[in-house]
C-alpha cells in the first residue's frame, strides 16, 4: 500500500508538467527548492536545536556561486555547478559553524542574523563579480547538449536533485549521524556521555545544512533566471524558519509540507498587495497557536515495525 502510494506519487510528479498549467510547474519548482532549504534548516534547527536566522545568506551564496560559474563557464554541466555551489556554501557553513559553537539560543540567532547581512554586503561589494545592486541574469543551465530553458526542463532538474536530497536526508536521519544530531538536541550531556563529539556534530550540522541550502540556492538561480541582493533579505530567512515551524521541527516530511504551505501562501497572498505581510503574519501566528508541533505532528506516527 505504501509502495503503491509512492509509485503513484512519483508518477504524478513525473507527469506534472503535462497535467498542470505552466505556472504551476514553475511554482512546484519553487516549492521543491524551498523544501530542500527547509530540510537543510531542519537538520540544523530541528535536529540539532541550533536556530538560524541566516539561511537566506547560505541561499544567496549558493545562488551566486552557481550563477557566476554559469556566467563564466556556460558549458559546465549543471550537476557539477550545483555540487560546487553546495560545497562552497558548506565551507561557508563550516566557517560560520565553528565560531557559533559557543553560542546558543538568542545569541546564535543574532549571530546567524548578522551573517545574513554580511552576505548581502559581500555581494554588493564584490560587484565586479556579482554586478552588485543591479542583479545578475543567470544563463540557462546546461547538461551536455541539453539546454534546460523551459519551465518543464527546469522542473525536472529541480525534481531530480530534490529527490536525491530528500533521500539522502532520510538516510542521514535514520542512521548514526542523524541520531547523534537528535541526541544533541535532546540532551547535550547525555549525548556526550554516549560518545557523541558535540563540537564535531554541531559543526557538521552547520556544514550539511549549508550544503543543502547552497544547492537549493543554485537551483533557485536557474529557476528564476535572475538574482539580486534584494532577493536574500532577512525576511527570506524568517520565511525559511516559518517553513520548518509550520511543517514541524525535526521532520523531513514536515519540512516539505511546510515549504509547500509557505510558498503557496506567499503566492496566494501576493494578490493582497500591501496587506500581504499582515495576513502572512496572522496565519503564521495562528499555525503556531493551534498547531505548535507543526503539520507533521498532526499526522499520526506510524508504529515502528515490530521484529
Amino acid at each position: 500500500m505504501r509502495r503503491a502510494a509512492l509509485v503513484a506519487g512519483g508518477a504524478v510528479l513525473l507527469a506534472w508538467p503535462l497535467l498542470v498549467p505552466r505556472y504551476f510547474v514553475f511554482l512546484t519548482s519553487l516549492i521543491v527548492v524551498n523544501a530542500i532549504v527547509a530540510i537543510g534548516l531542519n537538520l540544523l534547527s530541528g535536529y540539532t536545536n541550533q536556530l538560524s536566522f541566516g539561511h537566506a545568506g547560505f541561499f544567496a551564496v549558493g545562488a551566486y556561486v552557481a550563477a557566476v560559474l554559469t556566467v563564466r563557464e556556460p558549458a559546465l554541466p549543471v550537476v557539477l555547478t550545483l555540487a560546487l555551489a553546495g560545497l562552497a556554501t558548506a565551507l561557508v557553513g563550516l566557517a560560520l559553524g565553528v565560531p557559533c559553537l559557543r553560542l546558543e539560543g538568542l545569541y546564535l540567532a543574532m549571530a546567524t542574523l548578522a551573517f545574513g547581512f554580511v552576505v548581502v554586503e559581500a555581494i554588493l561589494n564584490l560587484d565586479w563579480l556579482t554586478r552588485g545592486n543591479d542583479g545578475l541574469a543567470v544563463p540557462v543551465a546546461r547538461l551536455g547538449p541539453l539546454a534546460l530553458a523551459s519551465d518543464a526542463a527546469k522542473y525536472y532538474l529541480v525534481l531530480a536533485v530534490g529527490a536525491l536530497m530528500v533521500a539522502a536526508a532520510v538516510n542521514i536521519a535514520r542512521t548514526r549521524t542523524g541520531r547523534a544530531l537528535l541526541a544533541i538536541r535532546e540532551s547535550e550531556i547525555a549525548a556526550q556521555a554516549s560518545g557523541v563529539h558535540l563540537a564535531a556534530y554541531k559543526t557538521l550540522a552547520f556544514a550539511v545544512s549549508a550544503f543543502y541550502t547552497g544547492v537549493a540556492g543554485g537551483l533557485f538561480a536557474f529557476v528564476v533566471g535572475f538574482i539580486s541582493p534584494d532577493a536574500f533579505d532577512v525576511f527570506l530567512s524568517v520565511d525559511f524558519v516559518a517553513m520548518i515551524i509550520v511543517g514541524g521541527l525535526g521532520s523531513i516530511p514536515g519540512s516539505i509540507l511546510g515549504a509547500a504551505v509557505i510558498t503557496l501562501l506567499y503566492d496566494w497572498l501576493a494578490a493582497f498587495q500591501n496587506y500581504r505581510p499582515l495576513f502572512f503574519g496572522l496565519i503564521l501566528i495562528g499555525c503556531m497557536l493551534f498547531m505548535p508541533g507543526g503539520i507533521a505532528s498532526r499526522v499520526p506516527r506510524r508504529t515502528p515495525p515490530a521484529r
Binding site: 542512521t175 549521524t177 537528535l182 550531556i189 556521555a193 554516549s194 560518545g195
Partner: protein, 253 residues
C-alpha cells in the same frame, strides 16, 4: 581500575570536593553515599569530564582522564546514568539505546546519506543489540515508545540499557533506585549484580537507598561536605559512629 587522587573542586567559593581520594577495583561494586550536597554527583561529573577539578588526578586503567573531553572518556569505556534522568525524551526507547551504541558504529555522514549496503547491515546489527538490551532491562515492549512518556522507573532502566550499549568497562549509576518502588528496586539490584557477575563490569553507584547500597556493594565510601568520612564494607560502614552521626542518624531517623 579507577583511581581518584586528591580531587578538589569548588563552585563559587564553596568547596564541593576536598582532596578526595579512592580506588575502585576491577569487577567491584563500589557505592558512594552521603547526605544531599555531599558531592556524590560531582564525582561523577568530574570522572566523565563534565567538570574540571582545581586539583587532583583521575586515572582509568592506568591512563589520565582529566585532559580528555567527555566523548573521549566515554569511548575509553566509561558509561553513566543521570540522577534526574537524561533520556532523549522525544526519541523512541530503541533510538535511545542506539545512540548509546554511537561509538561502536562507523557509518558516517556520506555513507549514511548514500545508504550504502554496509551501512544498513551495520544498522541492522545495532538494532539487534539494542533490542536485546531493552529485553534485558525489561523494556522490549516499549521499544517504539517515546522515552519521555515512559514512567520514571522505566526511564531509569532505559538509561542503564543506553549506557550498556556502549559496552563500557566501568558503569557509573547515579541513584538507579531513586523514585522506584521496592519491587522495582529489587529488580535493579538484581540487574546490577548480574552485570558484574555475568558481564564482568565494574560499577560505581551513587545511591540513597540503603537497602540497595547494603545489599549489593562490595565497598562503600561515605562523603560529607566533599570529604571522605568513612569507607569500608557495608557492615563496617553501618557500624561506624561517624557515619551514623553525619548521615544515617541525622537524615534517616
Amino acid at each position: 581500575m579507577l583511581g581518584v587522587e586528591g580531587l578538589s573542586i569548588s563552585f563559587g567559593g564553596l568547596a564541593a570536593l576536598s582532596a578526595l581520594s579512592f580506588e575502585v577495583a576491577e569487577r567491584e561494586i563500589f557505592a558512594l553515599i552521603g547526605p544531599n550536597g555531599a558531592g556524590k554527583s560531582t564525582v561523577f561529573n568530574v570522572v566523565t569530564g563534565l567538570y574540571r577539578p582545581s586539583a587532583g588526578r583521575v586515572r582509568f586503567r592506568g591512563q589520565d582522564l582529566l585532559r580528555l573531553p567527555p566523548h573521549r572518556i566515554a569511548r575509553r569505556g566509561i558509561a553513566r546514568t543521570f540522577q534526574n534522568t537524561e533520556v532523549f525524551r522525544q526519541l523512541s526507547a530503541l533510538d535511545n539505546v542506539l545512540i548509546g551504541r554511537h561509538a561502536h558504529l562507523r557509518g558516517g555522514l556520506v555513507r549514511g546519506a548514500l545508504g550504502l549496503p554496509s551501512v544498513w547491515r551495520e544498522e541492522a546489527g545495532a538494532r539487534a543489540v539494542a533490542r536485546a538490551l531493552l529485553e534485558r532491562v525489561g523494556l522490549a515492549e516499549v521499544a517504539g515508545v517515546e522515552a519521555g512518556s515512559l514512567p520514571l522507573g522505566s526511564q531509569k532502566r532505559l538509561e542503564i540499557a543506553r549506557a550498556l550499549a556502549a559496552e563500557p568497562r566501568l558503569l557509573l549509576l547515579d541513584e538507579p533506585a531513586g523514585g522506584l518502588n521496592p519491587t522495582e528496586t529489587q529488580a535493579v539490584m538484581e540487574l546490577i549484580r548480574r552485570l558484574r557477575d555475568e558481564g564482568g563490569l565494574t560499577v560505581l553507584v551513587v545511591e540513597h537507598d540503603m537497602e540497595l547500597v547494603m545489599g549489593i556493594s562490595d565497598r562503600v565510601l561515605v562523603l560529607n561536605y566533599g570529604r571522605r568520612i568513612a569507607s569500608g564494607s557495608p557492615r563496617e560502614i553501618a557500624a561506624d559512629p561517624a557515619v551514623i552521626e553525619a548521615y544515617l542518624g541525622s537524615e534517616e531517623a
